[in-house]
Symmetry: C2
Subunit: 313 residues, 2 copies
């Protein structure tokens, strides 16, 4: 038996399956280490945060973009997978930072550029050096978020990516949610107060005008380091009242909260967790197509942010 889909979801799935998503794919050589061979033609290559003396790759970099007018000037977009990141790199005409502000040995990649008056930085944790796969999960996400905030001093962090969705909460494939709240579902510490620390509930930064103007869906996000879901994970996800499930959000939220940077979470649904298809199969089948929906929404969010202050969101 196939999953029971609402008419809204059936339309969405047809759109996803029929979308000509290949036009959004990067060319085959559009990969880390080859990007300067085929840069986007209109790339903005000036970067206000890079100084003349770049010899010390671990230097403290201070944003040269003035925030004196209270407009948002610098944003950091954390994206865990290259497949999710590259279409947005293209949309914003960003360039890979060849003088990375991060320590030698870290695989973290920064794409940067100016877009509609904003200094836009996409941070991808990169490929695992030994295994060659995207550095997904909470440990990598927390590290790259920390290092990016320290180096770039953003006014706003956006964590964008794909996620699983719960049809019992109204989610269907291709939907894009903004998280009202994030929490962990796989950190069970059954000691008073430590239990709350493990769950680590945090609010997404409140953006009522953005949500209304862009007519975005809102739901709670639950984070864990596994793609699958055990019965105990499921119980925690239900307790977290989550509509979408990812592998990074609550870790990004933790770091942004530590360093007092507003953070918002934009998550596109690649697979229905409470359906009857295996998550990993559905995830891989829909990843590229759903990335198109994610890309469009993140671009709309950034367009909306342009020229506004944090308090106007």
């Amino acid at each position: 038996m196939g999953p029971v889909l609402t008419p809204h979801c059936e339309r969405r799935v047809r759109q996803i399956r029929s979308s000509n998503f290949h036009s959004f794919l990067p060319p085959p050589d559009y990969q880390r280490g080859k990007m300067t061979d085929t840069p986007p033609s209109t790339t903005t290559t000036t970067d206000p945060i890079h100084t003349e003396d770049e010899n010390n790759s671990n230097q403290e970099i201070v944003s040269a973009v003035s925030s004196s007018d209270n407009h948002i000037s610098t944003i950091v977009i954390i994206i865990a997978m290259q497949t999710e990141a590259l279409p947005l790199v293209d949309t914003f005409k960003l360039t890979e930072d060849r003088n990375s502000p991060f320590p030698k040995g870290t695989p973290w990649v920064r794409y940067y550029g100016s877009y509609k008056g904003l200094s836009v930085n996409i941070l991808w944790p990169g490929k695992d050096a030994a295994l060659g796969v995207d550095s997904v999960g909470t440990v990598s996400a927390s590290l790259v978020t920390y290092a990016a905030i320290q180096a770039l001093h953003p006014d706003l962090v956006i964590n964008a990516g794909t996620s699983g969705g719960f049809k019992a909460k109204g989610a269907c494939i291709g939907d894009v949610y903004v998280a009202s709240e994030v929490a962990f579902h796989d950190r069970r510490i059954p000691i008073p107060v430590f239990d709350l620390y493990g769950v680590g509930v945090r609010q997404g930064f409140s953006t009522p005008n953005l949500l209304k103007e862009l007519n975005l869906k809102v739901g709670k996000l639950s984070t864990g380091d596994s793609l699958d879901m055990t019965p105990l994970d499921e119980a925690s996800i239900v307790a977290n009242d989550a509509t979408v499930k990812d592998m990074e959000g609550a870790a990004v939220a933790y770091v942004a909260d530590l360093l007092k940077v507003p953070a918002i979470f934009v998550k596109a649904v690649t697979d229905i967790i409470d359906g009857d298809k295996p998550t990993s199969e559905e995830f891989l089948q829909n990843l590229t197509a759903v990335t198109v929906a994610l890309d469009k929404t993140v671009a709309r969010v950034v367009d909306y942010i342009s020229g506004k202050s944090i308090s106007e969101l």
Copy 2:
């Protein structure tokens, strides 16, 4: 029915229960924020890494201790819980760093001092600002390890702490293990190669002379963000061939590996996971007493390290 203990384990449990461990406990006011009121009388307060101009708390700090003789000069000891850290702070006569090299907002605490020719730094992730409990788990551990390596440039990282042990693998309460290998048991990503990334097996730095000289037990360590253990966790722990289970080790190993710093893992057993007592009850019952055993072993390890090069360990 009580757990079946080997004669070795029975002796160990009697020792732990009868030990006069209170002499190792810090005085009641020996807490963060009060340490300068009651510093250890022989504390070494000069710190080679602090310069005169301390105004920029985010500054890049470069170790002033020369490594030209190849002797290990600076070590960073990552300890997740205050109860585990403070006895060692006392043993090494360390002082809390009031000019923390870490960003404002982070709860991370550095204790530092000179001990037998070594610059010794104990890094404790501190109390969660909202909840007041120790910032345990992989996200905090990875962040504080990253920040400490960046700020202090240690020659060696030691992750010390308490752990659960498996009696089926010979562990009993109070045993202290050095990890030959570390891996995660709660990051299941059932996609080829991503599955290996999730498990994240890494070798502990090889220290054959240290192990032989100090007659230390050796076992594999498995890390997860929960204090309990689900059947799937257990299957992963068995696949990891683990003798001890903690909540930080594999994350510390990941960061140390990224930044190419040798890391060793010293784990003392507070609870028997394959026994019949609930882990959290046994953990709390034995935490303070077992910390004494951990303290003694870490002190022996640091004594052994003193005056040696990395290749002599």
